[in-house]
């Protein structure tokens, strides 16, 4: 634990300098996105609203790098039982019934502003952090699965059996519900979520950043090109937006 703290501190010092500008331009038109690390000990505030933007036009049909990165980062090893194995992020294929046009895109927890999962959770185990990240407190989740009934995005998984190879930063537990944490452990360290980092290696279809900051890359892109919400009719104001759908 002590070693981890030391690592965190040194990382933070580095990031504090390097990421203060919330991005490093390494060549014209190419932006390596980073986000401001939250200083250690400081409470999460609603000054920031973490969000994601997915440009589906850049999302390659046969690419599942975001899924693989998520599974690796969060230790999501399955049991070859697709119906009960957890999936925090998945590639969904859309086909327009009228035109036959096909498109793929990743779907994960949409980190809603008014999250139905948090609303229905009897114990408050499902909750939204002040910065918009929706999480499950594994210590008080009783495994009733009402949040899974309520989630419009099919974003949640119930841990159906014992889990192995857990990561310290992503605790899991049989009999509790889990979903995408937006890699909160990385975000708090000023890093991008694993799926975004993986996507940026080749396709650059995913953007992460502060929706409240008008100067963030994600906000600028959303302002310039727009972005759609999945099931916008529900009025949940999700933190994940899509372009090209």
């Amino acid at each position: 634990m002590k070693t981890e703290n030391l690592t965190d501190t040194s990382k933070r010092k580095f990031l504090g300098g390097a990421a203060a500008a919330a991005g490093i331009v390494i060549a014209p038109g190419v932006l390596l996105q980073t986000v401001q690390a939250k200083p250690e000990g400081e409470a999460v505030t609603n000054k920031v609203r973490w969000g994601m933007l997915i440009d589906t036009n850049k999302c390659a049909d046969d690419c599942t790098d975001c899924v693989t990165a998520c599974n690796t980062e969060n230790g999501l090893t399955g049991h070859d039982r697709p119906e009960t194995d957890s999936q925090w992020i998945r590639k969904v294929t859309l086909k327009d019934k009228q035109t036959g046009h096909v498109k793929t895109l990743p779907v994960m927890c949409q980190h809603c502003e008014t999250a139905p999962c948090a609303d229905v959770c009897p114990t408050g185990a499902s909750f939204k952090r002040a910065d918009g990240i929706v999480l499950v407190d594994k210590h008080i989740c009783i495994g009733c699965r009402y949040c899974m009934m309520a989630c419009p995005y099919k974003a949640r998984s119930f841990v159906h059996e014992d889990v192995q190879d857990q990561k310290d930063h992503a605790p899991r537990g049989k009999g509790t519900v889990e979903s995408c944490t937006m890699c909160v452990h990385k975000v708090d360290n000023g890093e991008n979520p694993a799926c975004v980092t993986a996507c940026n290696k080749e396709h650059k279809a995913m953007y992460f950043g502060d929706l409240n900051d008008a100067n963030s890359e994600i906000s600028k892109r959303l302002k310039q090109y727009g972005g759609k919400q999945i099931r916008a009719d529900l009025g949940l104001n999700p933190g994940v937006r899509y372009q090209g759908v």
Partner: protein, 402 residues
């Protein structure tokens, strides 16, 4: 109307102990099933990440709904002053508590972490209808318990009407809460309907009364006590009205959905293309749980037969379980519409009809809940003065002329 005398049953016969042993065996099987599910994890059940609530929830919700309905008989006497029902108020209140206990046992034993029940009982998110239900359920047991006390203890009998009215209001709230578990699910095509709450209330009337009639028959036949036609025929008529009302609510619910194009998909699934769910709806809910009981209650051939009323009650219960299956599991089997107008597919079963095959442990857990309810009743009628010594027309019928 003569003074009503209550007495506990002897409960020493082979039949009594046989029943107790049977119920105990089912409860043991349910505990074993729960241990099996918790030890291995829920992957050993038919439930999965698509069908997250399965057969245990069908039984649990059914029993909880029936519990509030079982209180009807007492409410009709205490709230609406119908003297004919007065002799059976004690059994009514006791059965209501017993059914709720059975339902809650199933619900708790199916949790992913039943060991954390104390968390559910102490930490509340008041925006959650589930959290409200925990309060409504425990409050129901408390209020109906007090109500029962006012019936049985002369010194507090003056509070009987207040307790009866409180219990009646509470049971309406309770079933509103249960129906709203589904009514409040905005994202799913099969739910998200305000009519769920009153529909659950009307279902509770019928399911609870059906249970009550069967328990009453069993108690009076088993003990050889007299049961007159006056009370039986009143309940027969009441059951018919409640069953007809359920059919009306089903009609309104589906007609409203059929009018809205966005719900055509889920309606076609439940009413026409849903295989087991379609069969359960038409054969289970409508024919077995609705039309046949109506014919048995009101038809000229069966009108006076107690056997017919008993069979009708069994059918109402079976039909009720079928209705719960269609609502709870059918509602999840139909895929979430993330992208209306688009065909969707993924490795996580987007856009497909989800399959569910209930397993034996789930069935045994559900039946165990029924056994818990029945063993509580069986024990209570032996321990407490719940049953009138006689329900002959001369005792029970306020209009009886010697």
């Amino acid at each position: 109307m003569k003074l009503i005398r209550y007495a506990s049953i002897d409960g020493n016969s082979n039949g009594y102990w046989g029943l107790m042993a049977l119920f105990a065996a089912f409860i043991l099987a349910a505990l074993g099933s729960s241990y099996f599910m918790e030890h291995n994890g829920h992957w050993v059940t038919g439930m999965n990440n698509q069908i997250v609530w399965g057969l245990p929830h069908v039984f649990a919700v059914f029993l909880i709904v029936a519990a509030s309905g079982a209180l009807n008989v007492a409410s009709i006497a205490s709230v609406f002053n119908k003297k004919a029902y007065k002799p059976l108020t004690r059994l009514s209140a006791l059965l209501a508590i017993a059914l709720l206990m059975g339902g809650l046992v199933v619900l708790v034993l199916d949790l992913g972490r039943p060991d954390r029940l104390v968390i559910a009982a102490t930490i509340y998110n008041f925006k959650s209808i589930f959290a409200w239900n925990m309060i409504l359920y425990s409050g129901f047991i408390g209020i109906v318990g007090v109500y029962l006390w006012t019936m049985m203890d002369e010194t507090v009998n003056k509070y009987n009407r207040v307790a009866g009215i409180s219990a009646f209001i509470w049971r309406l709230l309770l079933t509103t809460g249960t129906g709203s578990i589904f009514g409040f699910l905005v994202a799913r095509q099969g739910y998200d309907a305000a009519i769920m709450a009153p529909m659950f209330i009307i279902m509770s009337f019928a399911f609870g009364l059906a249970f009550f009639i069967l328990v009453m028959f069993a108690a009076y036949n088993g003990t050889g006590r007299e049961l007159g036609d006056a009370i039986v025929n009143r309940m027969r008529n009441l059951l018919g009205i409640f069953v007809a009302a359920i059919l009306y609510f089903f009609l309104v619910f589906h007609l409203t959905n059929l009018y809205a194009t966005e719900h055509h998909g889920v309606e076609a699934f439940i009413l026409r293309d849903g295989g087991v769910f379609t069969n359960m709806f038409w054969i289970g809910s409508i024919i077995v749980g609705g039309i046949v009981p109506l014919l048995m209650v009101y038809g000229p051939i069966c009108k006076k037969s107690r056997t017919a009323l008993a069979v009708a009650s069994v059918l109402v219960i079976l039909g009720g379980l079928a209705s719960m299956y269609v609502i709870i599991i059918g509602g999840q089997a139909y895929p979430l519409q993330l992208f209306p107008g688009m065909e969707t597919s993924s490795s996580f079963f987007d856009g497909v009809i989800n399959s569910y095959s209930p397993t034996l442990p789930e069935l045994m857990l559900g039946l165990g809940g029924v056994a818990v309810s029945l063993i509580v009743v069986t024990l209570a009628v032996k321990a407490l003065h719940l049953l009138p010594v006689s329900l002959a027309d001369s005792v029970a019928d306020p209009h009886h002329k010697d």
